[in-house]
């Protein structure tokens, strides 16, 4: 078996806010090209850890490498290699579909010609050519989510971070969204995702479950279900987080 490349390497990550320890010695790695599910109850410390991995906040201590860069010294390099999307914030409502694509592509330093070609391809693939000049505020939520994801990976990042990407969308759009995630991994993009939908945890290659600042379990969904003698990931989650 070939040694897998670790796109994220976290060793003894600690983050404190005053006397409160939000992340308590987290150690894990994420393999290149996998879908890594980052689960935990509200307040377990997921967002704190994710912000550190995205280069938005410094850890209190620990060794953390993201896409080959150190989170203390090379935050700007990390930001260029990652994409980010959340349910709460993704696209500008008062810009059009096309303007949003070009804005993000520009921020990530893509060249004009490159942007034009890729924008055409993207709109065609999403079936959004006819609505390219519509404001985001006018298009349905399901379309927005798909566009937001496409925009987050438009600059072909090494890793895309998805923070509860499917909240509130209908069950068919939710599944189409996960099919897009699978397609992205086939292009070599690593996916780091949080969700409250436990059926979505089953779509991940590996899943970690955080409880009160610590990682209490980390494995493939199949192994976790076996370990916790559970029918599905929802049961695994309840057994761990309810202690």
């Amino acid at each position: 078996m070939v040694q897998q490349e670790h796109i994220i390497e976290v060793k003894d990550l600690v983050k404190k806010f005053g006397s409160f320890t939000a992340n308590d010695r987290l150690s894990f790695h994420v393999e290149k090209g996998e879908i890594f599910g980052f689960l935990g109850a509200n307040g377990a410390g997921k967002t704190t850890a994710m912000r550190i991995l995205c280069g938005l906040s410094y850890p209190s201590s620990g060794e953390i490498m993201v896409a080959g860069h150190d989170v203390y010294r090379e935050r700007e390099k990390i930001k260029k290699k990652i994409g980010y999307m959340s349910q709460k914030f993704s696209l500008y409502e008062d810009l059009t579909v096309s303007e949003n694509i070009r804005l993000y592509a520009g921020i990530y330093g893509l060249r004009k010609k490159q942007i034009a070609t890729r924008e055409e391809q993207l709109l065609e693939r999403l079936g959004m050519l006819q609505i390219r000049d519509r404001f985001i505020s006018e298009i349905p939520l399901g379309w927005k989510q798909k566009l937001a994801f496409s925009v987050a990976i438009f600059h072909q990042p090494a890793i895309v971070f998805l923070d509860e990407p499917t909240g509130g969308v209908d069950p068919i759009t939710r599944r189409q969204f996960w099919e897009m995630i699978h397609d992205a991994t086939e292009e070599g993009i690593t996916v780091f995702v949080t969700t409250h939908y436990m059926d979505e945890a089953e779509y991940c290659d590996r899943v970690s479950i955080m409880v009160e600042g610590r990682i209490e379990a980390l494995d493939t969904p199949a192994a976790l279900k076996q370990q916790f003698e559970s029918e599905n990931m929802n049961e695994v989650f309840l057994k761990l987080a309810r202690k």
Binding site: N42, G167, V169, D170, Y197, L238, A241, R242
Partner: protein, 313 residues
């Protein structure tokens, strides 16, 4: 009947938010409304809560008309809006006392009703509501909505954005409230929660798709729905399944694929395809559709109109 919704219409400009919504909720029932964001659920709640006037149709709560008798309606309902209803700069106990006084009662008078819910947050009663976690805010909001002992409880997406543990606890509390004889209407985007309701109305784009009892199988179903599972994972098989002549639609469903066939005979084609893979770990069987399967099936019926709408926007 606790609640009668009689052919209600509501538009916002060109958008038809509710289109001939028509159903009834029985006394003491735990009634669910499911549908994605933008389906019209919150609009319907605001009409039931007498905060919005429908264009056509009637809505009565225990016989009181939400337009004409809004004063009586407001006394007998407890309403927990989706957007947060608490005063962030008041403490937990101040919020509760405030809601009790607004309704001309006291916390002690109805404490037995909220005890199970409130005791979970009582240790933090001196804390500002704004400093509570999401799960605790919800428990406080539920306590506030119950403090005047309403006959009908209206909860608009109480569990959105809340983790699986808090969601489970919240539903256990709703079951407890139901035992006190209170009728509850609750909306949710989580299909698994719908299974906890006595009956569920499915709403999409302002239209009522169906009302069903999760504990009973859908009447019309021939055995067309199959679940397929493999130790290798099922995603790799999805395209081939969808390309079958016999396949109406197929979707990921946790660690399984759910496949709906066009006809019962289609099972022959599926068996041949599955056997051709030579994957010994594959298991497949006919299953009873869950609420989520039913919802997705109904959505697909409407998928052509969805496409046309999409092109028009």
């Amino acid at each position: 009947m606790s609640l009668i919704i009689d052919h209600i219409d509501k538009s916002f400009g060109a958008l038809k938010a509710l289109d001939q919504i028509d159903f009834e909720v029985r006394d003491g029932e735990l009634f669910g409304l499911i549908g994605p964001d933008g389906a019209g659920k919150s609009t319907l709640f605001r009409i039931m809560a007498s905060l919005l006037i429908p264009e056509a149709g009637r809505c009565t709560m225990h016989g009181y008309d939400v337009v004409k008798d809004y004063r009586e309606v407001r006394k007998i309902i407890g309403y927990m809006p989706g957007r947060f209803s608490l005063y962030m700069d008041l403490t937990v106990e101040e919020n509760l006392a405030f809601y009790a006084r607004v309704f001309g009662t006291t916390v002690t008078e109805n404490y037995d009703l909220i005890r199970d819910v409130y005791e979970q947050i009582a240790p933090f009663k001196k804390r500002l509501a704004g400093k509570l976690s999401g799960g605790m805010k919800q428990k406080l909001a539920l306590s506030c909505a119950l403090i005047h002992r309403p006959q009908i409880l209206l909860l608009d997406e109480p569990t959105t954005g809340v983790d699986a543990v808090s969601r489970r606890e919240f539903w256990e509390m709703l079951k407890g409230i139901q035992k006190q004889g209170i009728c509850t209407v609750v909306s949710t985007p989580y299909m698994d929660e719908a299974e906890m309701c006595d009956r569920v109305a499915m709403i999409q784009k302002g239209k009522l798709l169906d009302i069903s009892d999760p504990s009973r199988p859908a009447p019309e179903e021939a055995p067309l729905l199959y679940s397929l599972k493999s130790n290798k994972g099922v995603y790799a098989y999805l395209d081939q399944i969808r390309n079958m002549e016999a396949c109406k639609h197929a979707w990921l469903f946790g660690d399984q694929l759910h496949v709906t066939l066009r006809t019962e005979e289609g099972a022959v084609e599926m068996r041949a395809l599955i056997e051709s893979w030579g994957d010994p770990s594959i298991t497949w069987k006919a299953i009873r559709p869950s609420i989520e399967d039913r919802f997705m099936g109904l959505m697909e019926h409407g998928s052509e109109s969805q496409l046309t709408n999409g092109e028009q926007i």
